[in-house]
Symmetry: C2
Subunit: 485 residues, 2 copies
């Protein structure tokens, strides 16, 4: 930070080189750095504060709906992982193994958790005896490791990532399914209300479900490069895991029943998606609900106006602080206003308030919106209320832009060629009638690396056409094809 | 939980079998369970809520004093661990190693972090260029792994444990030392104000410092079995780590200087210490500042009084809730009051409010303090204020009892035999003049497994006697001997 003038500019272009732009933005804005081991990142304070913002919102909603936090060991014995065969097949190639500890070889390898079903479910089996113990809703905030050999992209693709994983047990399938939907809804709400990102909700196709799940649901958000991002999934596990790990309970009828379970998780991909969606070539753009600083007050003075301008700005900032807004007063000497504007734009502060001699004289304040630079002069009276209104407007601008983008980028295709052409030309989502066979997806994948990111949640909803756009066989459902992260 | 009558009683005695009592308490009160791998535990919701309470307090104080949270990778390449030779020598025998991942052998072993100096300091070296970047204060809440081969004791001795680790860089030694002391002070404050546990503050002897540290300071608390518990340490690292990892900055004089660093951590041992200190044969006893439920309202009714009693109790509970107190209304049917009393005592709720027909008629409430069963009838008016006063009283009772215990158990000894005899008979701390040689500690360790847990913080404070109580040579300082966790 010793030569900040030089550090402030993002040299890459979001439009022309989105990958390089994102990598540069994440580093210049102090969100993250690359660790010495490929695939790992260091989350710096400005990045971690955003994750804490996500945690605050989501954790509150979880607790309001009966979830209890807990913490399970980061290691899972290999024999535990093997008890649910689909889990072991699904995750085995991605597992990091501890084989030596305390100068000894271990008798049994320990997996660094890729997800915790296989250590949490056996404990649920111990703790649950009666229907009165149900539903049991556990969650943990932790990191998990999946050894995928791809290029590192901070918050999008890393071998270790932060997430929350919820694991719940229920009396019956209906209750477990309601849980699955409740969490999906909370993930949608986080995206929309906090991150200002509209989402599509859907199911994964049969062949792409979470290992062992009956139904995997997810939220999909459209990234500016036309790819789909899946930041959260909610799995209905039926009674498969409960059978494998012996989670049973005695019901009011005094008979033993097998429980039904669900699991659901949101990772720091949501953070990456937010950064990528709203930010621009000047730097970060943050929705007000999650911005560590919501407002920055920048006094602009000459020597003869210094005292009155600084006093006025300080009082205004104090009033906003009192009203519960997250406000910074940037009264640094030795930095000119232009430098300060650039720095706070890089940091993504949603609203800048400029105070110069004119504002002091007219008892006003000049408010500038981060996303588009719109500048509005407002009276000084009831400034906290005024600022809250402007923050709402900033949120509305961000959401509307993302919504327009999404709406423009859901298209339909009736044939294999139209599908390939549409995704190739526009990116985004292409809806098409599909026969349900993985082979048809593979064809498209091989050709342009697009896949079926989801099918509609409602299983009764028919396909948009009678025949599969790819093979021409009878269509059974509608598939949303997209390139995806 | 299906046969709760049976589960409520603690069968072991705190006085006669403290180890077994603690293990039973932790499980019956739902704080933790033993994991399948020796040395690991599962932290259940009631235990994790206590950890969240500790986090809330400490994290707020950290942020108020310039600390920023961040997150570094859980793995550290072996070559990084080796860059500070004392770190590698100090931790090598306790490290768990990832050697295989994604079906391949790794080229370089990755340590599961035992502590993160050797991954955090190299990044500080990258991020710090100018004196304007200092002080840099980073913290992370995470788990670490130390492969110690001892019996598992939840929160006291586990191979994986939760903690926070703070890492800070400063312009000079004075600033790094002030940081070391500030954090030690916050750990003392957490123990005293939140956990209701008085502590001794001291330095570790030279031969028992954190590997690479110039000075290691710590808080010591006395456990009811006479052993000392060290739940938090704060290390002054001088410029050793900064030299090893090249943390330099350009000062106002435009010359390059080596920074000075500090690191400081508090683990879930603080949670274990709190549980062990205050709890009794009826179950948990929790200080009000950290109790997930501070007050439980238990209505006691017959059929003919049910409605009035329940209404009165519900209103009272609502009023407490409104006042910001954490309150539960236990209006469960099908559980008698005696069962409820036992259950809430097991769970450690500091204050119980009993509401029967008499209380309704007289517009009163009967308040019962958890730690000693003292029962006081109070008027219904301004009940929230009354309850807050009683919670303060409960805290004061807990703290006073722990303080008396500590004061009674700091003794002095003038000879080897008196030292051995006093610790053997009473446990607790024994102050003695010491020559500074590790050999004298080893003698005592070999005999009765007591060690020097601390020496006074103030290095100028002389020894309490002229000659070492053990070897008779000239004494240089005062040593506090104790058995320790």
């Amino acid at each position: 930070m010793s030569d900040p003038q030089q550090d402030l500019g993002i040299t890459e272009s979001k439009e022309h080189s989105p990958g390089e732009w994102y990598a540069e933005l994440v580093q210049k804005a102090g969100l993250a750095d690359y660790a010495p081991m490929g695939g790992f990142i260091v989350t710096r304070p400005r990045g971690y504060a955003l994750w804490e913002g996500i945690q605050d919102h989501l954790d509150g909603w979880f607790k309001d709906t009966g979830v209890q936090n807990s913490y399970f060991p980061m290691f899972i014995p290999e024999s535990y992982l093997e008890r649910e065969k689909e889990i072991v097949e699904g995750f085995d190639p991605e597992v990091a193994w501890v084989t030596e500890a305390g100068n000894d070889e271990l008798d049994e390898r320990l997996a660094v958790r890729p997800t915790s079903e296989s250590i949490i479910t056996p404990f649920m089996s111990q703790w649950i005896r009666s229907h009165r113990d149900l539903p049991m809703r556990l969650n943990q905030w932790c990191s998990v490791v999946r050894w995928e050999a791809t290029d590192t992209k901070p918050f999008f693709r890393t071998k270790e990532f932060l997430w929350q994983e919820g694991h719940t047990a229920h009396r019956d399938g209906e209750s477990a399914w309601e849980e699955t939907m409740l969490r999906l809804e909370q993930y949608r709400r986080l995206h929309e209300e906090v991150l200002a990102i509209p989402v599509l909700e859907g199911r994964k196709p049969e062949h792409d479900k979470f290992p062992g799940a009956e139904t995997t649901t997810a939220v999909q958000s459209l990234m500016p490069d036309g790819k789909s991002l899946q930041a959260a999934t909610s799995h209905y596990l039926g009674d498969g895991f409960a059978e494998a790990f012996d989670v049973t309970y005695v019901d009011e009828d005094e008979n033993e029943h097998v429980a039904h379970t669900a699991s659901w998780g949101l990772s720091w991909r949501a953070l990456g998606g937010m950064v990528m969606t709203h930010s621009d070539d000047q730097g970060l753009v943050l929705p007000p609900a999650i911005a560590p600083e919501q407002v920055v007050v920048v006094p602009i003075w000459q020597e003869d106006t210094q005292e009155e301008v600084l006093d006025y700005a300080a009082e205004l900032a104090a009033e906003l602080d009192e009203a519960g807004l997250r406000v910074e007063l940037d009264d640094r000497d030795g930095r000119n206003p232009g430098f300060k504007f650039n720095e706070w734009e890089l940091n993504g502060v949603p609203l800048r308030i400029e105070i110069g001699p004119n504002e002091v004289e007219d008892e006003e304040a000049t408010l500038v919106h981060r996303p588009d630079g719109e500048s509005i002069v407002e009276t000084r009276d009831e400034i906290a209320e005024t600022v809250e209104d402007h923050l709402d407007t900033v949120y509305a601008k961000l959401y509307a832009a993302a919504e327009d983008e999404l709406e423009e980028n859901v298209r339909e295709a009736e044939s294999r060629n139209e599908l390939l052409g549409t995704i190739g030309q526009h990116g985004g989502y292409v809806k098409t009638a599909w026969c349900g066979e993985e082979g048809c997806e593979t064809e498209i994948k091989d050709e342009i690396a697009a896949e079926i990111v989801m099918v509609p949640l409602d299983e009764d909803e028919g396909p948009i056409d009678d025949t599969c756009a790819i093979c021409g066989d009878d269509a059974t459902e509608t598939a949303y094809f997209a390139k995806s992260y």
